[in-house]
């Protein structure tokens, strides 16, 4: 799999955004690149790359992908190549973007709407919520809800009536806000994970009774859940995973990134001869020495990490624990 950046611009200001540092989403400026949007010729090259890598799904990311001025044409081109489409969006879609997506059958497209994206950098405004609700109503079962946890007292209950009213998928994809390497964004500190784990189990129990499924993005760790929390999550059928195996991000400058938080540290050129799997292997090799560590100092002796059940949390968070060696000793 591979995520394709088609727009470096974003018109939100989410405090937890770990891509803004790499993309400069507010201005859309990319040093050494003329436009904040992918041109159609390059997009065709990306489609070739997916074909060569035997990837049937196209995953469009940003910035905000729907801000691309030729978004409907991009969708059409992906459809013509027979790709299944996955879009990561803030959900405040323009009329033309909505129209281009609502004509597609739900089995051909998933629109993953981040439900706590906002312009103010705090909670979404009433206006934003109204706009997002309109998107959900129009796209119905094509929409899966997403939520990024960046503070321990997060609230998910508002998602339940939305699912019922709008006909979107009865599932939520949850992400933990992770730090970019310089830690300028807001993120959930590993010390806060246990309280988040308990809250998630509480919510999964309530949502599960209503047939709502909850899935985990990368960065969750096994030790954030007690045995009883885990039992409740399993009973609710939650998609539990403790992984950090990010999907390749391909940016506008023909670079393949390990992931946005580690974009500056681990990247490689998008060579035309290589497949996504081969690029992933190159990037994993660069990151490999750090994999021994985890987000906690105890991760290295943890049986869950040793037996592969848990990867020790987000690699970017683990790497932030490292310090540059400054040894200088005169004998």
């Amino acid at each position: 799999m591979a995520n394709l950046v088609i727009s470096a611009r974003c018109n939100m200001a989410c405090p937890y955004c770990f891509a803004s540092e790499y993309l400069d989403g507010q201005s859309g400026n990319i040093p050494g690149h003329a436009s904040p949007y992918i041109d159609l010729e390059t997009f065709e090259d990306r489609l070739d790359f997916l074909d060569r890598s035997n990837i049937d799904e196209i995953r469009l990311i940003g910035g905000e992908p729907s801000l691309h001025p030729r978004f409907p044409e991009i969708i059409q081109r992906a459809v013509k190549r027979g790709k299944r489409i996955l879009i990561f969006t803030h959900g405040l879609l323009t009329e033309s973007a909505l129209t281009s997506l609502e004509v597609l059958p739900p089995e051909r497209v998933t629109v993953l709407v981040n439900m706590n994206a906002s312009r103010s950098g705090d909670e979404p405004s009433q206006k934003e919520e109204t706009h997002r609700r309109k998107t959900l109503l129009r796209l119905g079962g094509r929409v899966q809800l997403g939520f990024t946890i960046f503070q321990p007292d997060f609230e998910l209950d508002f998602l339940i009536p939305l699912m019922v009213e709008t006909g979107c998928q009865k599932s939520v994809r949850l992400g933990i806000a992770q730090p970019s390497l310089n830690g300028r964004n807001r993120y959930l500190h590993p010390k806060q994970y246990i309280s988040v784990g308990r809250r998630l189990a509480d919510w999964a129990e309530r949502a599960g009774r209503l047939g709502i499924w909850m899935g985990f993005d990368c960065g969750f760790v096994r030790c954030m859940f007690s045995e009883s929390d885990l039992e409740r999550l399993n009973k609710a059928g939650a998609g539990i995973a403790y992984r950090c195996n990010p999907i390749l991000d391909i940016d506008l400058k023909d670079k393949a990134l390990h992931c946005f938080p580690l974009g500056d540290k681990f990247q490689t050129d998008l060579k035309l001869t290589l497949t996504a799997g081969e690029l992933r292997a190159i990037l994993e090799d660069k990151a490999k020495p750090y994999r021994r560590a985890g987000i906690y100092k105890e991760c290295t002796i943890c049986s869950y990490k040793q037996n592969g059940e848990c990867m020790g949390g987000c690699l970017a968070a683990a790497i932030r624990r490292f310090q540059l060696a400054k040894i200088n000793i005169n004998i």
Binding site: P289, E298, T300, Q323, A325, I329, N330, I331
Partner: protein, 94 residues
Amino acid sequence: MKNRIYFCPAGVEWVKNTDGILVINRNQSQSYLLMGLESAVWSWMSLSYTYPRLVGMLSELEGISRQEAGQKLKRLLEAWRVIDILEVRETSHG
């Protein structure tokens, strides 16, 4: 008389974990786990302790003479140089 200065090349990073200190040479994609005495010495060196002070602390910790501690420390530094987490340069000292 010549001095030997041991220093970390660019790209060496480290982190303290429960089982020891993990040292990484990013340029060579290698990692090393320093445990026990090695871990203690690396920590002291990272605090910029001088060589005489390091020798004194090692002597205390191990219950050995200063001379033995000095030899032990030099062996350790050389071992770290061989695996490229340290480099050495020699300077003339008047």
